[in-house]
Amino acid sequence: MDSDDRLRQLIDHPPRDEDPPRDPVLTAQVMARLRPRPVAAPASRRGWWVVAVVAAVAALALPAGDDAVARLAADDLLLLAEVALAALVLALPAFALARSRA
């Protein structure tokens, strides 16, 4: 094989360099520089506070009785809105804490 043929071969199949041995220092340096990845909270944890707010609002705002929904008056609706707002404000810090621990 002449040198031109060998060069043609080398273009398509250049020799691969030997990989250097594993360097634990490099791995340690990478790991030290990592920032925690934001991991999405599981659906069960994402939705718990929404369920809690809805349940609390329903329990507080709906009067007892067979035709409870029908007897919701304007006052009840106002109370419903106020309680929902308060519950949401209270739930936000808990939600943020849950995310930071995830």
């Binding site: 040198s3 031109d4 060998r6 060069l7 043609r8 080398l10 273009i11 398509d12 199949h13 250049p14 020799p15 691969r16 360099d17 030997e18 990989d19 250097p20 041995p21 594993r22 360097d23 634990p24 490099l26 791995t27 340096q29 990478v30 790991m31 520089r33 990592l34 920032r35 925690p36 990845r37 991991v39 995830a102």
Partner: protein
């Protein structure tokens, strides 16, 4: 379990919040990444860029497509960082003299021709020709031929069609052959 399967498993662990699993991936692939970067930027900067490669990959891990090998994805990230690094170096923001450390850099193809055409000389001629390519072409050559990434995988990572990649590779081989002063027999890919 093969390396690709182990990679997919470890990537899934990292995405599930187990950051320590990433150390396994770094251990497994750092040799090849450093070796690849030494080709592209020289030994002096290869380790630092390897660290940057793994950090960049970690932050973008949720965009990794497990259809393709993790190693190829890392090599493409490393190539892009190397291209940026070389561009900055050309702008003079980095220390002068580093270019001399690049494989093949400093070797004169004409002078090499005049020497006996032993295997080492032929390799040096090829290295010199590759070193003279622009950053994108050089990265493509290293990824496709020395690292032997699959054309379909490369086309995916570059965001181009398989045919477009084929054209680029064809032109690249023709360019190298011209620089080496040889005619090239056509081949696929």
């Amino acid at each position: 379990m093969g390396t690709a399967d182990e990679d997919r498993r470890d990537v899934a662990r990292v995405l599930a919040g187990d950051a320590d699993a990433y150390a396994t991936l770094v251990d497994r692939h750092q040799g090849r990444i450093v070796s690849h970067l030494r080709r592209l930027v020289g030994a002096a900067d290869a380790d630092d860029l390897a660290q940057d490669t793994f950090l960049r990959a970690y932050q973008a891990l949720d965009r990794f497509d497990p259809t393709y090998p993790f190693r190829g994805w890392l090599l493409v990230i490393a190539s892009r960082l190397a291209a940026n690094h070389r561009a900055r170096r050309r702008e003079g923001r980095l220390a002068e003299g580093d270019e001399a450390a690049l494989p093949g850099r400093g070797a004169d193809p004409a002078q090499a021709c005049a020497e006996a055409d032993g295997e080492a000389t032929l390799r040096a001629r090829l290295d010199a020709a590759v070193a003279g390519l622009d950053a994108d072409a050089r990265a493509l050559y290293e990824l496709r031929f020395r690292q032997e990434l699959d054309p379909a995988e490369l086309a995916h990572h570059f965001g181009i069609t398989r045919n477009a990649l084929k054209v680029r590779v064809h032109r690249l081989r023709q360019l190298l052959a011209a620089r080496l002063g040889i005619d090239l027999t056509e081949r696929e890919d």
